[in-house]
Symmetry: C2
Subunit: 483 residues, 2 copies
């Protein structure tokens, strides 16, 4: 891989970076414009990630972080684990953004300048400063998100370098989510879920809420284990890890933007903000502050990782991506919406379970097989040697799955025994359905599928939710319940 | 290096870890006992670091993180960058400690159980929880410390793996200190320093305080650049990096403990706490929460890094160590005390400047030279080849320094020109003064020197400060000024 930027790239990135800095420095006015600053920080993050990935590729390879791209006619060694660069830029940008996210509050807290709604009690103290009501709870939410993402990055890098074992790395996200859960406990502590309408009559006292208490923390912890690992196992072809993360991030951005649009009948103030903003506006703004730069660094990484890949992303990226989604879902109370967007990942996980839990043999890599003759990808298989064929019940299950088009089964014609089954990932399943295809085509189709599923999920979320639950948290039925 | 624990080690560590967990789970009573929990977490951290370093050594070496110990008769390859393990455990323990540090506040905030001094206004809200006064500002201080340490770790690992250039890594700590400075700005904003008594008459209006404003932020930023880099350049012999960090951490722990002891005339309550605690008690407690686990993980690392070293610590450890000191000094307002403890590092930095800034040639490594015949370390030298001798003024300076016993100069007898000068580190200077010695002896003497300087510094701090300043922040003269 060329390790320097082309002439066009250099000037484009410099221009983007320059414009970003100009916009950022202009947001220090009035109440500040955190969303504008966030967008500008994102474009800056894009430029930085793009350049750093290009420049540091050889250093990664030299440090032994490299791997062969096996789905190519002439496998070349590519730098591995470059997602760590994207994650690092992401974290640095999130840090640099802190003063911008809280600019209005800092101004109010430190100068007392007119914003009496924020400064509730002013008492001059010895040092000539004011006691104030800086929204520390918001700051500590933001910081706990940062903490969680950082420890995810550190453990991801450890995994990329040291090649941790499955049982060691499975719980990494659970540890990483600790700071988030603690702050959740202190700040919101909302552990009740809404009961679907059709179940209300059967609830004791016809309650509309169930208090899950500590089970809710288990649920959030499980979410933060599931999201990173589910992205990490839907992997193996150029661009798929970053691509799916970009789709999910994009859909979450659309979802959160819905809460920022003034809803009907609510007057808009001079400064462009709604007079009575949705109660969840603040948490959805925070979501955007986290997702916009994530989308930006992912895009820069995607450009280098798409077919034909020039770098590999490594585990760090998958972990940080999944954890970013878990973090925003927990902070802004839309974990069920996130699960709707993760449907392909959920199906892939369930479908993979027999292999993940070693019920049937699992090779180290399950990525599709490259057919050098045709240049196309085919489903990879688990061989069943004649001396160790699948058991009778398993054979029956395999044939049933084949009939449902959920498995490719190869039968040894002489013995009539199963000699191979396709590996249990939806990537292989897609190839079973659609036949062999080029790697870029496969990634494209899977990403289109992910996008379609996601839009459907959002549609369900915002229309049908009212059929199942008595309240929706979008629009005038706004409430503070976690949905 | 053996990668498994011996029988004795395994059982000792298991015992220590078990006892730690038992103590930790017992601190969830009454107001909680955060300091006891912190000590137990530290012993747990020690066990974890010890075992993880032992276990992961081969994985580090396999990943290419290894280096030769040149100061041995038979140089062996040792795992490099193992400080990253210590740093990771340190961060995980600091995270797990959050609920313990704030246990009292969490109890008060979530149950409203009797602690009316903490719960100022109780209003039941929709979800059956209470609005409360959780000390978010304390939490966000703690979290910003964590953020700073984590980004330091990430950038340190990047340096260890990618071998960043000097100009790239110099500013790493400055970026890492951003979250801390932001929270400092919001929370304390104390940017005034006390004027020494003898200068007061000359101040306009005989002011006793100077308001430094943004210069104070530059000063804190400079401190967080200086501390990590200064430890990183006082390096190169077995155990010196970790050893000096342990000495400094130990002295800072002693210093902070002084603020927890009830001072004369102040009654002690039933729970063992002073009735009118020193105003700086809280911030010094926070200091202990950060330093105790740091000392613990450093000790585990030191056991593997001391002569004859079985692992190298890498840049990550030096950065995290220095940044830990900078963080506590900034949070608890004792940056001048820290500088007193860093006197050997300051002298080493000043002494190194001519080489660091390339005024005179600087080889890549300046560690002492191992004499294989005697088995002793000797000062390493910068050669001045005959065709490129030092200039006339430089020669004069060199001879002057030699007269002051601050340099070893080798003169070519034929031409009477300087052919070599010792490298400018205090490690080499110590060998110039004391003559060649064994590596372990050298480390020991330097650490004794560091300890002696530190105690002297603390003595100056707590006795002579009153001669120079009108107030001391220890004892009944307590005040909130940064000293």
């Amino acid at each position: 891989m060329a390790s320097s930027l082309t002439h066009t790239e250099r000037w484009t990135l410099l221009l983007v970076a320059g414009a970003s800095v100009a916009v950022i420095s202009n947001t220090f006015q009035g109440d500040g414009a955190p969303l504008v600053a966030s967008i500008a920080f994102s474009t800056l993050a894009f430029s930085m990630t793009f350049a750093f990935i290009r420049w540091s590729g050889p250093a990664f390879a030299k440090a032994g972080l490299k791997g062969k791209d096996m789905s190519k006619l002439r496998p070349v060694e590519l730098p591995e684990g470059m997602g760590a660069v994207a994650a690092s830029v992401y974290i640095l940008v999130l840090m640099a953004f802190i003063p911008f996210a809280f600019y209005k509050d800092i101004v109010a807290a430190t100068s007392g300048g007119g914003n009496r709604d924020v400064v509730l009690s002013i008492t001059e103290v010895d040092t000539g400063r004011f006691l104030h009501r800086f929204p520390h709870s918001k700051l500590s939410s933001y910081q706990s998100a940062l903490n969680t993402l950082q420890v995810t990055t550190i453990l991801g890098i450890a995994d990329d370098i040291l090649d941790l074992r499955w049982r060691q790395k499975f719980f990494i996200p659970a540890i990483a989510s600790l700071p988030l859960l603690i702050v959740y406990y202190v700040d919101f502590g909302v552990t009740s879920v809404v009961v679907p309408n059709f179940l209300v009559p059967y609830m004791p006292g016809q309650a509309r809420l169930i208090h899950l208490s500590f089970l809710y923390y288990l649920y959030m912890s499980a979410l933060s284990i599931f999201a990173p690992n589910s992205i990490n196992i839907l992997a193996g072809i150029n661009g798929i890890e970053v691509g799916q993360s970009m789709v999910i991030a994009g859909l979450l951005i659309i979802n959160s933007s819905l809460y920022l649009v003034p809803f009907p009948g609510n007057p808009v103030l001079n400064n462009g903000y709604a007079k009575n903003p949705h109660p969840a506006t603040d948490s959805h703004l925070l979501t955007l502050y986290l997702l916009l730069p994530f989308l930006a660094v992912s895009t820069a990484l995607y450009i280098h990782n798409r077919y034909p890949a020039r770098v590999f992303v490594g585990d760090t990226f998958c972990y940080v991506a999944g954890m970013t989604f878990a973090v925003v879902a927990i902070m802004a109370h839309f974990s069920k919406t996130l699960l709707l967007l993760l449907i392909p990942q959920i199906i892939n996980f369930i479908y993979s379970c027999p292999q993940l839990f070693k019920l049937i043999p699992c090779p180290r890599h399950r990525l599709p097989k490259f057919n050098a003759r045709t240049g196309l990808l085919e489903p990879s298989i688990t061989p069943w040697p004649p001396e160790k064929p699948p058991s009778k019940p398993l054979t029956a299950v395999f044939f049933a799955l084949e009939k449902l088009h959920l498995l490719q089964v190869t039968v040894e014609p002489k013995t009539n025994r199963i000699s191979a089954t396709s590996n249990l990932t939806i990537i292989n399943l897609w190839l079973v359905w659609r036949g062999p295809m080029r790697e870029d085509q496969l990634t494209r189709e899977l990403l289109i599928m992910q996008t379609a599923c996601g839009f459907l999920g959002l549609l369900v979320r915002h229309t049908m939710a009212l059929l199942i639950f008595s309240v929706d948290n979008r629009g005038k039925y706004g409430n503070a319940f976690p949905v």
